[in-house]
């Protein structure tokens, strides 16, 4: 998986970090590699070891219901912390909380034209 742009700092403690190569293993499990696809996991590390202050494995998800009628017709990015995924049960719990349908992000130009 090509990862060209990576976070440079840990948002918790501002330590400089680098994306680990091991992350590829996590990313392969994600259904889509397109920008905006849900479930992109990003691991932060410092000098090859985990950030000492926080267990900063996180996941950023993309939700987009901008085409739905009525209220809430928009998209957003959600970030979860590592602790949420402490156990398999926990992960299931959170997955079930995904609200409504979530489609992959469409190109923004297209959205604007339609609106």
């Amino acid at each position: 998986m090509a990862e060209k742009e990576v976070p440079k700092t840990c948002g918790y403690c501002s330590n400089f970090v680098q994306l680990l190569s091991e992350l590829e293993g996590i990313c392969k499990a994600i259904p889509s590699e397109k920008p905006g696809a849900r479930g992109k996991k990003v691991r932060f590390d410092m000098d090859g070891s985990e950030c000492p202050k926080y267990n900063a494995l996180t996941e950023v998800r993309r939700y987009d219901v901008s085409q739905q009628a009525g209220w809430g017709a928009g998209g957003f990015y959600q970030m979860r912390s590592a602790d949420v995924f402490a156990t398999k049960d926990e992960e299931k719990r959170v997955d079930r909380l995904v609200y409504q349908k979530h489609a992959e992000e469409e190109p923004k130009e297209k959205k604007k034209e339609e609106s």
């Binding site: 990576v6 976070p7 939700y63 209220w71 017709a73 957003f76 970030m79 602790d83 949420v84 609200y99």
Partner: protein
């Protein structure tokens, strides 16, 4: 103006389409992306669900922290939530921060009340998904014997518990889980949380030196308590900075990994920088100020514990930053400022807690927490405080067009005309806000009843939808003072020897005897007054007991950091000892019918002797069915609101009596309890109340305000309404809600503005505390009933809040249509 302006449109239907065309693409996107949390007939909009994450993390922490001081447990609970709850950033947004994991969620505070938990758990709206209940069940069970409600009930009598458990009765209600406070944001903006943490750390160091090496003194005891509090405040404040930094981190991740649009990338990097800076450090520009306020408000007043209202003088706290950015250094255009204030409205609109079904019925169409922001008024020197930002905010309101937040304008004769024109135009375009409060009466009320100084009174902002609270000096309200009395209830109890016959079937008041035995009107009036005396005593007593418990187990540790006096004293903001200036009131919804009921009884039974009290009781018990002629006689009695001296005299007696009876009670901090007749919180609930002597049947709505004449009964024009209302001494009441409908066609154009200005001058000269307007005609409202899909954007003033008309139930819609349209 943002891509054009919210211009004067004479066709009402075009106002919202015009707003949609004129707002920026960002505001348009965000307006469509926001979730309405209002209810229709008690039901939430499709897709709105309970937010479980806050409770999950808070409960998890509570399990881990047994044995620690309660304040510290609160702080550690907040820390757990802020560090772990998922966060999100909506596309196009510039302001971030929410109290749940997704924007469609309503946060649930399981530690508050078991009765509320049970209602939400078994909610017919299925706000808690079935598949979640396997872990929600033990969580609800965990709080069953530990929640705040249980701890308050330890100190209540059986009578008090019974009244509370019946829900909309009297006193402290578990359903009403919100506090309400007034924060001095200037203190936060100028210091930043890091400086406040340093002050707390210094206090801790000093205290620990004394405790570790000084002699034992009587102060040692108090110091231990303070150390616990300071430690807790420090934990909470640091957690809020971490939470803000998480948003900064997310913004950066999106910019660097997901976003492809260059402009948006730059915006996200700017958001990231702002979140790394505020609320930790002092703010330096408008964007930082708005973000800082949003972070501290959401963390302190929604994640730590929920607060109703959104108390602040918005055009004053942001004015120094707006003036510098927009007018002096021109680092931000006015369009950009309007856009930011419009987004601020949307961020406020989406925030509320989950409430039980019955509360949703009471607050038709509203997000239930009545966020009301204050505009206008005078500054600390008594000069007009209106500014260009006031007008920019009102323009933003007209562009985004959401029911909440509502705005209140502090009206005074020196207010600049361009700002008054902006107020008028905002009301005329159908938003129903700003509402207007009389600057002189409101300030006099704060000074003469609570002892505020003139300078303190000049700083006031509305605490929730109606009630003024001092911001500066000894002000800064830390906790909700108010309780409730359903205002029509004492009338029903007086007619039934203290027994409520049809809704609750309870002896809810003292035995004041069979009213048929009252030989004179004054005797019946005294029975009614005794019912009020009992109700006020119950409400204030229970609220005080709740306050004792809240200070010990439901502290507001982060919000306490925002009060300089709490940082200095080491006493939590919800503790009565930290409050130098009282602001206690009992809200009195559903009261306005009482005055017509009372005059009808006086005239029909005691003056004209056409009917007996026994006959009236029979007719009421039959809900007036079978008593058509008698009912018409009671309806035909002159009504309040028509400049009828006799009717108005009885009304003045009633308002004076409730003010005096409430004032008999003293708050925990020694302050006076005042009463606030309104209907913001219970307009639709009125239909539950039994039949009343003004000819109203059970199932019909009650009157719509705190002092509004009955819908359709005010037949002699707007001046007659104002003259009647002015016969009440408004300074003896905390505030008093007056709803008026004005003709939109008559008020079009410059001539309409001048007519409205003359009306407002008359209103002000008559010393009436409050007025708010609907300016939507019946044709539009009827059309919206027939084709609601075409009128999704139509907003009306319901009570102390505005709402989307199509989200109201049919009964409430009819109640609004029935209000008299006044020609001025």
């Amino acid at each position: 103006m943002v891509q054009g302006s919210a211009t004067n449109q004479d066709s009402q239907e075009s106002w919202w389409w015009e707003a949609e065309r004129n707002r920026s693409s960002r505001l348009d996107y965000l307006r469509k992306a926001v979730w309405s949390k209002g209810t229709t007939g008690g039901a939430y909009q499709p897709g709105v669900v309970a937010g479980l994450d806050r409770s999950y993390w808070y409960t998890k922490s509570h399990l881990k922290t047994q044995g620690k001081p309660e304040a510290e447990r609160r702080a550690l609970g907040l820390k757990e939530v802020l560090e772990n709850m998922p966060i999100f950033i909506v596309d196009e947004s510039q302001i971030v921060g929410y109290h749940a994991a997704r924007p469609n969620e309503l946060t649930w505070y399981t530690e508050f009340a078991y009765s509320l938990n049970e209602q939400i758990y078994h909610d017919p709206r299925q706000t808690v998904p079935e598949e979640e209940k396997h872990w929600v069940t033990p969580m609800v069970e965990y709080w069953r014997d530990k929640c705040v409600q249980v701890q308050v009930e330890r100190y209540l009598t059986e009578e008090e518990v019974a009244c509370i458990q019946q829900g909309p009765a009297m006193g402290w209600q578990p359903a009403d889980s919100t506090s309400s406070s007034v924060v001095d944001y200037d203190y936060v903006f100028e210091n930043g949380i890091e400086t406040i943490i340093q002050k707390i750390a210094q206090k801790l160091d000093e205290a620990e030196v004394l405790l570790g090496s000084g002699p034992g003194t009587p102060d040692t005891l108090h110091l231990i308590e303070k150390v616990d509090q300071w430690r807790s405040m420090k934990i909470a404040a640091e957690a809020v900075i971490t939470w803000a930094n998480r948003y900064g981190r997310l913004a950066k991740i999106i910019a660097e990994n997901f976003e492809t649009d260059t402009k948006r990338k730059a915006e996200l990097m700017k958001i990231s920088e702002i979140c790394a800076k505020v609320p930790a450090r002092p703010v330096e520009n408008l964007h930082e100020a708005v973000q800082c306020e949003h972070f501290v408000h959401v963390a302190g007043k929604w994640i730590d514990r929920p607060h109703a209202g959104w108390s602040q003088r918005t055009d004053q706290i942001y004015w120094p930053y707006y003036r510098r950015d927009v007018l002096e250094e021109k680092t931000m255009t006015r369009d950009e400022a309007v856009e930011l204030m419009g987004e601020n409205n949307l961020r406020i609109y989406e925030i509320t807690a989950i409430f039980p079904w019955i509360a949703g019925v009471a607050f038709q169409g509203a997000p239930l927490t009545l966020p009301t922001l204050t505009l206008g008024g005078v500054d600390a020197n008594g000069k007009d405080a209106c500014n260009d930002l006031t007008e920019a905010i009102l323009e933003a309101c007209r562009l985004v067009r959401v029911g909440e937040p509502s705005y209140m304008f502090r009206y005074h004769p020196q207010a600049r005309v361009s700002t008054l024109r902006a107020c008028y135009e905002t009301v005329r375009q159908g938003l129903g806000y700003p509402s207007f409060q009389h600057e002189g009466v409101s300030m006099d009320t704060l000074m003469s009843n609570y002892g505020a100084t003139l300078e303190e009174a000049r700083s006031y902002a509305n605490v929730v939808c109606m009630s003024p609270g001092v911001v500066k000096g000894r002000g800064g309200q830390g906790i909700k003072y108010s309780g409730y009395i359903w205002g029509i209830m004492p009338m029903i109890l007086a007619l039934n020897d203290g027994f409520e016959p049809s809704v609750y079937g309870l002896q809810m008041g003292p035995h004041t005897g069979d009213p048929a035995e009252c030989q004179a009107f004054e005797e019946f009036f005294d029975c009614w007054r005794q019912q009020f005396r009992h109700a006020y005593a119950l409400a204030t007593r229970v609220r005080t007991k709740a306050r004792y418990v809240e200070a010990r187990v439901w502290q507001n540790v982060f919000c306490s950091c925002l009060f300089e006096r709490c940082v200095e004293s080491g006493i939590d903001m919800v503790d009565a000892r930290s409050q130098p200036l009282s602001n206690a009131w009992i809200t009195l919804p559903m009261f306005a019918d009482t005055v017509d009921c009372m005059y009808a009884i006086k005239k029909m039974i005691y003056d004209d002797k056409k009917y007996t009290m026994a006959e009236l009781k029979e007719a009421l018990a039959a809900n007036w069915f079978g008593y058509a002629e008698m009912r018409q006689d009671f309806i035909n009695v002159p009504k309040f609101g028509n400049d009828d001296e006799e009717a108005d005299k009885v009304a003045a007696m009633c308002y004076q009596a409730v003010a005096e009876e409430c004032g008999r009670n003293k708050e925990a901090d020694g302050g006076k309890w005042m009463t606030l007749p309104e209907n913001a919180s219970a307009y639709a609930m009125g239909a539950m109340m039994p039949a009343t002597p003004n000819g109203r049947r059970q199932g019909d709505l009650l009157y719509d305000g705190g002092i509004s004449p009955g819908a359709g009964f005010d037949k002699k024009g707007p001046t007659a309404v104002l003259r009647s209302v002015s016969r009440i001494d408004h300074r003896q009441l905390k505030q008093c809600l007056l709803n008026q409908r004005l003709s939109p066609s008559q008020l079009a154009g410059e001539k309409g503005f001048q007519l409205w200005m003359n009306y407002m001058k008359t209103w002000y000269d008559l010393n009436i505390a409050h007025v708010q307007f609907n300016m939507v005609d019946n044709e539009t409202l009827r059309a919206a009933q027939v084709e609601p899909e075409k009128y999704q954007e139509l907003i009306v003033r319901v009570a102390g809040y505005s709402a989307h008309f199509v989200e109201l139930n049919a009964l409430t819609q009819e109640g609004i249509i029935e209000r008299t349209i006044q020609e001025i």
